[in-house]
Symmetry: D5
């Protein structure tokens, strides 16, 4: 089979592994990386994650969200199965929606040191109101800092229609 | 449970509270804030509020709207249950659509002193015409003033399709 | 102008009337009727009413629904502006969703004595769950009783997709 | 050119005619027919007519609707350009929604003597409520009478979602 | 390669053939068949054909439609590339919409002698009105005759929303 | 406030209660009922529950589903907040999709002894395939047994389009 | 009732008035204004008007459109009921689509002297083609002139999908 | 963890197994079953399989389809991961669309001996036409034979809109 | 009838004309213009043309597309009925999709000498792939040249979802 | 037949060819070009390719994606049938999603030396997460390098809604 070879996948231990453990306490240590094969190019990778759930820090009630993560890799790239397990680890974690999104972005910056990254969470409503936090980041001292400012300035000029149904 | 702790939630009295009172006369005093844990970052929080109702100031007829509120917090952040109760307090308030949206934005600026905020109301039609006011604001003397101008200039270039059904 | 004449509209006092009063306490007395001009034919009339709001009987929190009312008239037909005012009169009324729908149908049966009627309410969620009650009725001792059974038996085999957004 | 020949189109005077006159007073005399070439087969023809407008008989305010007409022809079939002109002739006609639909069906029965016909109007809202009348008819003393009953009994078990936007 | 073998495809001359000729005059002789491998089972095959175009018999103006053909095969099945070429042969054919649909069904009955077949054309509007003819057929003296009646009786109880856009 | 009174709500302890406990181990004991005020009428109540999550019994991986529950009440009706808490209690429960749906229906039959009930779960895919179990039940020895058979026979003739995006 | 008071509504004579007259000859004199209460802020007001109809200047055939009007008010704001009556007055007016949109914008500029305004008409097709004119305007010698240029330059980069159905 | 236990999963060897082999030659031997825990109840299980691909038996060109499989289990139920691998095994299999669907249904009948089963494939177009075969089956000599007839007779009365985009 | 007068329509010979001839060989000579009444304003006119068909230059197979044409007029404006006839004249024309779009734009530039124009064709797939060419043009030596560059640079950042169904 | 002539199609050997071979091992040598007839104009060509499938490099499991390729041609243009065959050649190729998209873009740059190109892949989920890589390129030392930066900076500000169904 042509394509990326085994020895180009060092550090990837979870993908294809039988004994996968699904942690349910917040644990950024689960995250794994592999190497970017196209570091001379700026390009985007987006993860669509519609199966996110955490707990309300006040009431303990489960919250649900779809999370969209987009980033421009530098040297390291997050492996998607480890990302899945990391997001599952919020299952018993209590935090405000706004804090969860910032925390996820901080962890991925810490892990990959990406050129650019953004995280958008779209939660289901409680009491008729839903909350959608969005944060982004560009590597300090690079053009990606300006890109982050530009994308924040133009963020969500067209809010999607919401009717709670 | 990991995450934001109780002592980081001072001033939040309504969330999880049993004896919630649903006021039906306009009352901005209901609004409560908590502290932004990520003040060194510019990020957006959006509230989707499709259950807004007020009264026509001339005829007394109930009006209905979906309201979308987006802001970049500075130090204070509005707590969502108090926002819900505040919006419910328009239930017996009579005002033109345009005035309601400006009033809500003024109250939230007064409450949070945010870096940036915008409010978009999308009302149901009367006599075949519906009205959608949009206002925004950036903190005077900061880059957010320019961001507000930029977003107004690019507002709603793609009006959603409306057929009154 | 051709069409239905003024003298065929006796009893219709609210449509086109300037001093319309919007009552906010439940009042079936608002309802008005006019005469069916096609009584020798069975036909359906549907009202789409997406601006219904009432209160939770336990917490006082406002509830919101779209209500769909379909009926086959006999001699009397409900006038639509009076129906609008009647539905608005639930604005400060506290009742379970299931009870509201049954009450509306009972009032319209009392008013019009229709051959057949059905009422379907589709509410917005609270705590992640939404409730959609449906009731119907066929005039006792007529074929419409069987029609009511038939329509109940075939009710909502294809629930619409709900994701709370 | 193969297909239906000129001499099979007697009675069709409006289609392709330059001097078309657009009447704006209700006039069923505009309607024209041509001959059914497949009378030994029961089949449906549907007209989608989303550009219907008439006047409110009380207030004179314009009303708008999409009308769906379906029929099983017997000997005569209504020509579509004449149908368009007939529907346009309601432009200055004042009538209740329910009466317009019954009148259209009566005129088409008078014109074509069809085996079966149904007419469904879907109007835009006034005061937050919209009205959708539906009537149907099967030729007396034929199986189409039972078909009309069957279709009425199963009419609109799945009302489309309406939110007035 | 497993699956249907070459010798089970006698009579199929167009599929995979380089010198395909696209006729533009109505020609049912193009149609080819292959043998049904599951004759002991009643099952449906549907063709979705959204690229149909013919001419108006009066004005010569091109007409456009999506055609949906569903049938239950008996011994012979129509090969899809020959069906494509047959439908393309209406390109310069002038006929009323209702006649085109009946003609297509007649040709396919002649070709395949199917147990059941139905043809539904959905045309684009002229002058604000669009026409959707539907015809069907069940083999005489079999249960499929009753099936045809049943399907006609239940045809299109939910007309799709049309707004000419 | 008019409507259902406090003394008609005996047994409802969770709705409006501050100290709500969110159990995460399967527990049908959470469920509460209130009394049906319209027992002489057959009518439907539907719960839309798009926030269901459980665990795979083999791998421990979280599963996600939207669940639609429809029933015709007899004497008792399930209170919606208790239903929410009950469904949340599957959060750490491991079972096949098919078993979860049957278990939920069994518990609600045990709780309410309804005239009729059905439960439809629509899960997110694993490995490109998603599973949607549907079960129903009519009270033995009543017409609702036949209604259950009728609804099963007509279940899901129009599968919704799924593309895993 | 809190909100805008009667004495802040001088000049508004049509809203809530019983004897509304629906003119059917083009008449910009119908338009009324009220005073902007937030003149120190640039904000948008959009009117969705899906019930527009006029006549073809050549053939007299009725045309139908949805019109979207967005403006940034200066001192005066157009009252929505008078706008409705003004748009209804095109009912017997014959003009090309492009001319209607420019005329409406000219009349509203004359009436309100707004900071910015744009008008977009989306018509139904004739002969398979539909026409959507869009014009805009910024007050001469102000930044709104540049805003108009900017919005024209970025107009409709994503044409909506049209299939005439 | 509550729920189905390991010893109730005999015969399930693929789910959660690390060394999964993806066969690309048609192989029904991959399929595995587990035991139905609710054999006294008739209920449906549906598999949504939008990632099906096979080859054209004439040209070798890849074909793509979404397949929907619904069945009422008797004693055995097909395990979903083995179903995934089985469907993947068509990857290099050449067969007509109609034959693939019949073959899949035959294999599942052979495997599970279900009370009822149906298979619907919806393929992408070639040359502007797409093909959607549908077959079903009820166990001979049981009521499910009649259910199969009933469902075939009512199959796809509302073909989805297809425009090849 | 108010509005544009006959003497302002010189050169328009096809609109409303009875003897319309539908040419089927490419002929830009069909195109007609009328005079722009608002030459001091930059505004857009868009034509939605979903009924375009041409032939493949290699195989002769018919191709189908929706074409979107937007332009800013200078002195002359294309009359829409002549545009319809011009586009119909591609019916027997063989060309690559990319060449058709460029040719249409070239012809309209030649005809109208517009300030700005763009043409976007969206074709149906062949062999699973569809092609959508887009070209634009701004008058040389004017600001519209920069506008063309700007619009090309921002073209189609959000490709519509295509699944060939 | 007017349009592009045979001698303007040198190098195109696959289109219309009977003996098409469908390779299933990655092979960029399949790609063919033809000459751009409009080299003095910058314009876009987009290919919608919803039938892409490859293999996971770790597990061998098939992956599925829709790929959108947009480019501004210089001298050479890729012929679409050869593109189809090239994309089909990934059928047995194992690579990460991110690597496939970069590889496709590299091959097309090598083939055509385009002024600008971008490739966006949208994959189906595995374990609840889907991955959408996007890369682009502008010819070094030309304005298209800046265009590539601009388009990357503005990429996907509005992620489409994903719910894995
Ligand atoms: Ca910054
Ligand atoms: Ca929604
Ligand atoms: Ca709508
Ligand atoms: Ca009953
Ligand atoms: Ca939704
Ligand atoms: Ca709507
Ligand atoms: Ca018959
Ligand atoms: Ca439409
Ligand atoms: Ca049973
Ligand atoms: Ca989908
Ligand atoms: Ca200008
Ligand atoms: Ca459309
Ligand atoms: Ca489509
Ligand atoms: Ca240029
Ligand atoms: Ca599609
Ligand atoms: Ca989806």
């Amino acid at each position: 089979m042509s394509g990326r070879q085994k020895d180009e996948l060092e550090g990837v231990t979870l993908l294809g592994n039988q004994g996968t453990k699904y942690e349910v306490e917040y644990n950024p240590g689960i995250l794994e990386v592999f190497e970017n094969q196209h570091p001379n190019r700026d390009y985007f990778v987006k993860f669509n994650c519609p199966e996110f759930t955490s707990l309300c820090p006040i009431t303990g009630q489960p919250d649900f969200a779809a999370i969209y993560i987009s980033y421009i890799p530098d040297v390291k790239m997050v492996e998607s199965k480890s990302l899945k397990l990391y997001l599952f680890s919020f299952r018993n974690h209590g935090d405000f929606h706004e804090d969860c999104m910032n925390k996820i972005m901080n962890d991925l910056i810490e892990l990959m040191d990406p050129r650019y990254i953004e995280v958008w969470g779209k939660f289901t409503p409680r009491g008729g109101i839903s909350i959608d936090p969005y944060c982004n980041y560009g590597k300090t001292g690079t053009k990606f800092e300006q890109i982050a400012d530009h994308r924040l300035m133009n963020h969500d000029l067209y809010p999607e229609k919401i009717d709670n149904r």
